[in-house]
Every structure is written in C-alpha cells, then in structure tokens.
C-alpha cells in the first residue's frame, strides 16, 4: 500500500509572501557575512535581526493588521476603523476568522452604507409613508421597468422552459462561463447600445453573476496581492469592495478636479504612478468607468488614446467599466475602449472591458455581468474563475429571448434614454432653483452636485455634517463625495432614477429646508 505523502500547496501566490520578504534580507546578509566588511557586518546584522523580530511578531499576532489607508484623499468615515476592530474572540474562545473577514466588518459604518440602511428602515412612499427617507443614493434605474415587465408578462414562461416545458434543458450543468447563445445575444446588445460603432466577439466574453464579480475576477487575473490599480477619483463606493476585499490588491486614487470638469489628466496619472512607486507598490493597471460614476462624464477619444499611451509606456493593463454605456442621455458621443483598440493591434492584450445588464437593461436582480477581454490568457483564466459566480440557467434562457427580440430592444433603448434625459434635465433644473449647480453630465443615473457653499467648514468634516443634515433633516439619502474619494469637499451624488416625476418637487422642497437654514 503506497502512501502518497503530499501537501497540496499553492503555486507561488500569496502563500509565499513571507518567505519572499525574508529572502530580501537574507541574501544581502549572506553577502556581508562572506567577509565584505566588519563595519557593515556590525550594523546590518542587528538591523536584520530587528527586522526578523518584527516580521515574526507580525505573523504570530492574533489580530491581523488593518488595511493600509490610501495616501491622498481623506479616508472618510474609515477613520472609525480603530473603534470598529472586532475582537476575534467570539463566545467561549471560538476559532478566529481571517483578516479578510475582519476587514469586511469595518465598512458598515461609512455614509454610503449608513444611508442605505436608513432608507430601508424608513422608506418614503407617497401614500403610506410621505415622511420617509427618499432614496437618492442608489444608482438603479426604475424609469423603464414597465417596458421590461410588459415583455415578460407576454413572453416569460416559454422563454425559460421552452415550448415543451422541459426542465432538462436548463437544469443540467451548463458551461460555467455562460451559454454561447447568451454571449451572442449580449455581444449584439452591447454593440447596439454603443450605436454600432464597434462589434463585440462573443468568444471573448465571460458571463458572470453581475459586474461586481467581473471586476473582482479581473483584479485576481491582472494583479497579485499587494499590487495596485490606479483609479481616477471620484469613483463609486463599491469599487473599493470589488477590487480590494478578497484579492489584497490596493487602489491608488488619481484625483480629478472640478477645474478640469473632473476629467482625467495624464499628469495626474504620472504623479499617482510615481507615488505608488515611492510607496513600493507595483501598479498593474488603470481602472476607468466610462460613463463615469459618480460624475457622469464621458471619456473623449483623446483622453482614451492618452490613457492607452500611458498604459503602453508603463506596460500595464486598462480595465474599462462601461456598464452605463446604454444609459447616456446627452448629446456627447460615447467612445468605447473597444473602439480605440480596434485600430491599435499590439496593445489588445492590455485592454479589458466590464459590462453588465444591471444598469442598461435595468435588471440588477438577475445578476448578469460581462468580462470582455482581448487577452487570450486572461480569457482562459477568467473562464475558469467564472464557476464561482455563474449566471443562473433559467435567467440566461429568459435573457436570450429578450435580447433577441430586436424590436423590443430597439424601442427599449430609445425610450429609456429619452426618459433618462427628461428626468435629468428636470432634476438639474430643480437644483438650480436652489442655487445648486451640477457638473455637466452625459450619462448615468445621477447628477454630481456642488453643495460646497452650503458647508459650514470647507472640509470633509463639513461635508459629512451637511450629509447628515440632508439625511436626518431633509430626509433624503445622498452620497457624499468623500465616500467616492473626491478630494474637493462639498460634492454630492444624487440619483434621480428611482424617483417618479412628481417626486422631484418634493425632493427640492426638502433640500430647501437645509439650504435656507
């Protein structure tokens, strides 16, 4: 009887982190010891020993270190980290949980999540709860649900089960990265919402249960724990979770300023890159959202080309989150990263696009996200990772049907855009009456409002005070710029797509309560 003695260890990866650090100290030490100098010997060895002692203590401390705070923008309510560090000792000395699990617990107190919680506890309803909190903090689009609903009422059953109501077609194991038919349908949809400026190859698609795992998947594929991505700020709050939580990858914000209409400058990219270098962080890529969230602006062609040049120069990746491409409502043209890369063959390997049906098709509950990559190796890895976040089969069947209904989709895209545009204009006008200006925006479900003149102090503290007043006095939930890592205080994201038209005057009146106090 042969005993196969094996411990299956991971190949490289984070398991070797400790050993690697040790090596960085040992190797030069060996050089020294081999007789290159007594003075050096006398100084390096104690330093090395001190280093080892620290390292040893770190590894065996019962509580893992908290996440390093980002350098530039203020950390927002993350400051309460120290208060929130939960003791790993549960009842009766129960087994500890991991450092990753502990870091998750800290995020619940940030304004973004506090606001969402308040709304769920006391939601506004025009009839039954007119004094409830109005939700302006969730980037969800309810404006066109009636269209989808009508389609489903007429088509759902057959779409899911087929004409013979057979379950075996959808019940059994399917390719875990999505049915080819759905990939084809999604590729067609993506092309359509981008006004056919570019076509997408279904074979380069990996379907995931939402854009959230799509972004995490790319983070796992393109960076190692301890590496970093550059992300233009302000950026949407959940990106911190999507990129960093389980991967151990860092985000270095690249601040954009109101003076530039919050557009991305190569200078800022360079600065952020160099800063990362100084901190010893290896940058693996840039993540952009286009249309951007929370500002709602589009990247123009020149900026995208500059970004590509930058990525080429540093030999890093670009992730372009284009999940709101179908939710543009202005007159500006939307340019996909796919369009840029079409003509520049060599750099295809560094470009990856994230998409999903949550925003443009207004179906976040169905959980459909897309990783679209030009890189064969990333495609192979992502396909294997898809098993951890696959799209449910009946949902896939349903969407294949829906997306293939060309007439419906065409009408939906057009109508949805019109409704977005009308709400946007009316909402921004309403705010203007209060003396609140918004950054010009061409897409998304929100406006980016400048409330800085309402701050008692021009600081993050002042901003959070105002946020609190808006939540508890005006009873509206908005997202403060600090939750989005904005370096200029006083900016707020207000989502208008969860409102009915009649709600707008109510919202404006409520804000007036605060502006006039």
């Amino acid at each position: 009887m042969t005993q196969t003695e094996e411990t299956t260890t991971t190949g490289g990866g984070r398991g070797g982190g400790g050993a690697k650090t040790a090596m960085r100290v040992i190797v030069p030490l060996q050089g020294v010891v081999q007789g290159r100098g007594g003075l050096v010997l006398g100084s390096i060895i104690p330093c090395a020993l001190f280093y080892f002692l620290q390292f040893y203590l770190k590894r065996h401390r019962s509580e893992p270190d908290p996440e390093p705070t980002p350098p530039d923008p203020p950390a927002g309510l993350h400051r309460v980290q120290s208060r929130l560090v939960l003791s790993p000792r549960g009842s009766g000395g129960a087994a500890h949980v991991s450092g990753r699990a502990n870091s998750v617990a800290r995020q619940a107190d940030t304004p973004y999540y506090v606001g969402l919680k308040r709304v769920s506890e006391d939601p506004y309803d025009v009839e039954s709860s007119p004094d409830g909190v109005i939700q302006l903090g969730l980037a969800e689009n309810k404006l066109s649900l009636d269209l989808v609903q009508k389609w489903l009422a007429a088509n759902a059953r057959e779409s899911i089960l087929g004409r013979d109501l057979s379950i075996s077609g959808i019940a059994t194991y399917q390719p875990l990265d999505g049915l080819m038919e759905l990939k084809v349908a999604v590729a067609g949809f993506m092309s359509q919402i981008m006004e056919k400026t570019v076509s997408f190859n279904p074979s380069q698609i990996v379907l995931t249960a939402g854009a959230t795992p799509a972004i995490e998947m790319l983070s796992f594929c393109l960076a190692d724990a301890g590496n970093a991505f550059l992300v233009p700020s302000p950026y949407y709050p959940d990106l911190d979770r999507d990129v960093k939580w389980r991967t151990g990858v860092e985000i270095i914000p690249v601040p954009c300023r109101s003076a530039d209409n919050f557009s991305l400058s190569t200078t800022a990219l360079d600065q952020a890159f160099n800063q990362a270098k100084k901190r010893g962080l290896k940058v693996r890529g840039v993540i952009i959202s286009n249309p951007s969230n929370p500002v709602g602006n589009l990247f123009n062609r020149e900026t995208l080309y500059n970004l590509l040049d930058f990525a080429r120069e540093k030999n890093i990746h670009i992730i372009s989150n284009e999940i709101l491409a179908g939710s543009t409502h202005g007159s500006e043209e939307f340019v996909s990263m796919a369009e840029i890369i079409d003509s520049e063959d060599f750099d295809r390997n560094r470009v990856h696009i994230v998409y999903g049906l949550s925003k443009d098709l207004t179906l976040p509950g169905f959980r459909v996200g897309v990783v679209y990559t030009f890189n064969e190796n990333v495609l192979v890895a992502a396909k294997k990772m898809a098993r951890f976040s696959s799209v449910s089969a009946p949902t896939q069947r349903l969407l294949i049907s829906m997306l293939s209904d060309a007439k419906f989709i065409q009408n939906f895209i057009k109508t949805n855009r019109e409704r977005l545009r009308r709400m946007y204009i009316e909402f921004v006008d309403g705010l203007k009456q209060l003396g609140i200006d918004c950054m010009k925006s061409s897409g998304g479900f929100y406006c980016w409002a400048d409330m800085s003149r309402l701050l008692r102090s021009y600081s993050e503290k002042g901003e959070l005070e105002l946020w609190d007043k808006l939540l508890n006095v005006a009873k509206i939930n908005v997202t403060p710029g600090s939750s989005c890592h904005c370096i200029e205080p006083g900016w707020f994201r207000l989502c208008f797509t969860t409102l009915e038209k009649n709600d707008i005057p109510i919202v404006i009146e409520r804000i007036r309560k605060v502006t006039e106090s």
Binding site: M1, T2, T4, T7, T8, T9, T10, G13, R14, G15, G17, P64, S91, G92, A94, A95, S98, G99, R100, A101, A105, E140, K142, L145, Q149, A156, R157, I160, L161, S168, I170, A171, T172, A209, F220, C221, A223, D224, R246, G248, R284, N315, N349, R350, T362, P364, G365, F366, R367, N377, V378, A381, R387, F388, S390, V391, S392, A393, P394, T395
Partner: protein, 444 residues
C-alpha cells in the same frame, strides 16, 4: 544594423498563470475525451459513456410535473408589483421567502431531525462558491484546511486557487472503509505544524464524494471533539444529503450539534446546494448555513460576488415551500437512486468487481486494485486510460481524488438513462472477460 527592442508583453497575476485550478488532471482530461466522442443511444452507440459527472437526472420528471401543474411559478406569480421588486432585488440577504424555503427543505431532507433558522441561511451561486467563500472567511493566505482523502477533485481549485489557502490531506484507507479516525486527524494536524502551516479548519463531505457513503454518528462525534480540541472550524459539505438512499442512514452534523445542545457550535458551518439533490446544477443555488453570527454577517456581505438571480429565487421559493411536493420528491428520489445503485453494484459484481459498500450519492467507489500490475499511481492511470480509450467509459481515477491507495475509481450512475447504464455494465463485463482469457498478462 537596427536593434529591435521587443516590448515585454503585459503580465498577468500569479493566480492567473498558476496551475492551482487543477484542470490538467485526468479528472478533467476524461471529460474532454467524452466531449469529443459522446455516447448516444442511436447516433453514436460506440461513443464514450460519461461516468465521471456526478449529476442527478433520475427525477426530472417530478420537477416537470410540478411546473406543469403550477404554471405561475415559471412566470411572475405575484403579478406586476412582484416582478418590479424582483427585477431590482439585489439584496444580499436574499428573498425571505426563498430563505424560508431553503431552511424548510434542509430540515425535511434530514427527516426533521434538525431545524434550520432562515436567518442563518446565506445564499451563493452554487456550492462551489460557498466553499470558496467560507475558505476566504475562515483562513488567511498560507493557512490550511484539513480534508480527508479521497476527496472531490474540485476542492483543489475551490479551496486553494484564489484564496491562497493550502489543503493538508487527512489520509484514510480501505482497512476501515476509508473512515476518518482521530489518529489520522491528529497525524495530519501534526504534519501541518511541522511544515509551519496554521490549520484553520477541517472540511468534511457528508455523504462523502467519492466514497458514496455517509459518515457514521460516532465518527462525527470524534470529528467534533477534534475540532473543539484544536480550536478550529468545521465545514460540513452536505450537498448529497438528499441523495442518501434512506433518510435514517444519513446523520447531519446539525443533529450531532443538537444532541450536544449546540455547545461550541460557532465553529460549525454547513454547505448545501440544490445541484445534486434536486438535479438543478444549472440554476446555481448554494447555501452556507453557519452557527456563527460573525461568519453569517461576513458571508452575507461577501456573497455580493456570487448572488443568486432573484428570478431563480422566486421560481424556486414556491416549489420548495410546497411540502407535499418536496416530501414526495425526496422520498421518490432516494428510492430511484437506491435502485440505480443496486443495479450497478449487481452488474459490477457479476463482472467480478467489488465496490465499497455505499449508501448515498450519485456514484459508487469501485475497487480495481487487483488489476494493477504494481500498486502505483502510474499503473492506476494506465488502467484508467485503457478504460477510457478501449472500454470507452470515462470514470474518475482515485489518484485525482488524492486517494492514498491506487486502484480505486469513482463511477457515476445517475447522469444517464437505465439503458445507457446497462450498456456501460455490458462493456465492463466484456472487458473483464477479456482480461480473464488473456490470463492476466495485460500490463497496467
């Protein structure tokens, strides 16, 4: 002379290029062979029969019948408002009605010998995601989980790949039907210690894959004592709980905890899914049931990466809450699986092949060690390859399940029709007859 500088290609992460996903093992290679030449009753009767996929197709008709009599389940039940909420619903708490249904179903599968609280149910897109998620929560990169061998080949990927966590095997052997012993547990733990690896938990599969057998109550007690002594977590993957051939033969860790008044239960977490028992792997429905509040909260938040489609939750909530349906389904499914099992065991016995005595699951654990020239992994893989290429059956070699004894194979029987199973048994019979005539001179 111009020197051409080749731009270095942009790099991927270590995880992306590592082999830890394990997809180059024979377990997966056999699937490729099947994909290229799949058996079909009429159009390809000499093709490869897939016996390496643990899928349950024996009770589809029951599901179809239910859907036919409850048409509103496939559409939107509650009508307009129901749909609206549903399409937007991406709360990681999951639909309350669905969580209630899952908790109730899990209780039923255990013959109501254990009760499950819906507030402890965390939903994930499949058990694959549930196991990975728990690993992220319970262990740091570089730490380890103990896993008894032989184990499901997918664990190498699910528990280790993106998490950076190691697996330290707990060796079991045929001398006691591959049951876990305190001695083996201690030995594995010591081995980890010697390698300076921190053990954070033990993961058991009950009923076991690939053994096709339930873990005995006394062994569960020993396991619970062990994890308490070492102050580590226990994950019990009970994905095959509804596939035990008789309800009383399966003892869930939940029952053992109940008998101990839930003392020290915060270290215990159960993984479940509808992929095997209900035969719905395509739906991607998994759950983590944890007795630890912090793990529940954390798992819930992390489930954002692997939410179940709200439409699917809605579809299944009513079906799983329908007690008359579920009771009948569970009972009938068990009976049919038992029948299949008896058919394959009988057929193998006629061919002179013994199997481990099993009482659950969608597969049997077959012993072909007597056919090996030498008791080595290489000989086992040669035999596996012969069976794949000549007998045209894709079965799973024990080595891909990290079995310490060569010669064992996992053979699935529930993912095909009865007729196909007959064909497979005939082929095996012929193969064994062929070996007898050759006087055992074939080299494996």
């Amino acid at each position: 002379m111009t020197i051409e500088v080749e731009q270095p290609s942009v790099e991927l992460s270590k995880i992306a290029v590592s082999e830890t996903h394990g997809e180059h093992s024979p377990y997966f290679a056999g699937w490729k062979a099947y994909d290229e030449d799949p058996y079909h009753e009429s159009s390809n009767p000499s093709g490869v029969i897939q016996m390496g996929l643990a899928e349950n197709q024996v009770s589809f008709d029951l599901l179809e019948e239910y859907l036919e009599h409850h048409p509103q389940e496939a559409s939107w039940g509650k009508g307009a408002s129901g749909f609206r909420e549903n399409a937007l619903f991406q709360d990681y708490h999951g639909l309350q009605s669905f969580r209630n249904a899952m908790a109730s179903f899990m209780g039923q599968v255990r013959g109501e010998r254990a009760k499950f609280n819906p507030d402890r149910v965390v939903l994930t897109a499949g058990a694959t995601a549930a196991n990975e998620l728990l690993t992220f929560i319970l262990a740091n990169p570089g730490d380890a989980l103990l896993v008894p061998t032989p184990y499901y080949p997918g664990f190498d990927r699910d528990l280790r790949w993106r998490t950076g966590v190691n697996i330290v095997p707990v060796h079991c052997d045929s001398s006691n039907n591959f049951q876990v012993t305190p001695k083996a547990l201690d030995a594995a733990y010591s081995r980890a210690e010697a390698m300076n690896i921190k053990v954070k938990g033990l993961l058991i599969t009950n009923p076991s894959n690939p053994l096709g057998a339930t873990i005995q109550r006394s062994v569960l007690g020993d396991i619970l004592d062990f994890v308490t002594r070492k102050n580590i977590h226990l994950v019990s993957d009970e994905i095959y709980s509804g596939s035990a051939f008789s309800s009383t033969e399966f003892v869930s860790i939940a029952e053992v905890l109940e008998s101990r008044d839930y003392k020290d239960s915060e270290r215990v977490h159960i993984v479940y899914s509808l992929s095997k028992d209900l035969g719905l792997p395509g739906f991607r429905v998994g759950t983590i049931y944890s007795y630890n509040d912090k793990v529940v909260t954390t798992a819930r938040r992390m489930s954002s990466f692997t939410l179940i489609s709200s439409q699917t939750q809605q579809l299944l909530a009513s079906m799983l809450s329908d007690k008359s349906f579920t009771q009948n389904y569970i009972k009938t499914n068990r009976e049919r699986l038992k029948k299949r099992y008896q058919a394959i065991i009988g057929g193998l016995r006629n061919a002179g092949i013994d199997c481990l005595e099993g009482n659950a699951g969608l597969f049997c654990w077959m012993n072909l060690s007597q056919l090996l020239e030498k008791p080595t992994r290489e000989c086992e893989l040669d035999l596996w390859n012969t069976i794949l290429q000549e007998v045209k059956l894709n079965i799973s070699p024990g080595s891909s399940c990290h079995c310490s004894e060569p010669g064992w194979f996992r053979v699935c029987f529930a993912n095909m029709s009865e007729q196909t199973l007959e064909v497979a048994l005939t082929r095996i019979h012929q193969f064994m007859e062929g070996r007898k005539t050759n006087g055992g001179n074939l080299n494996f």
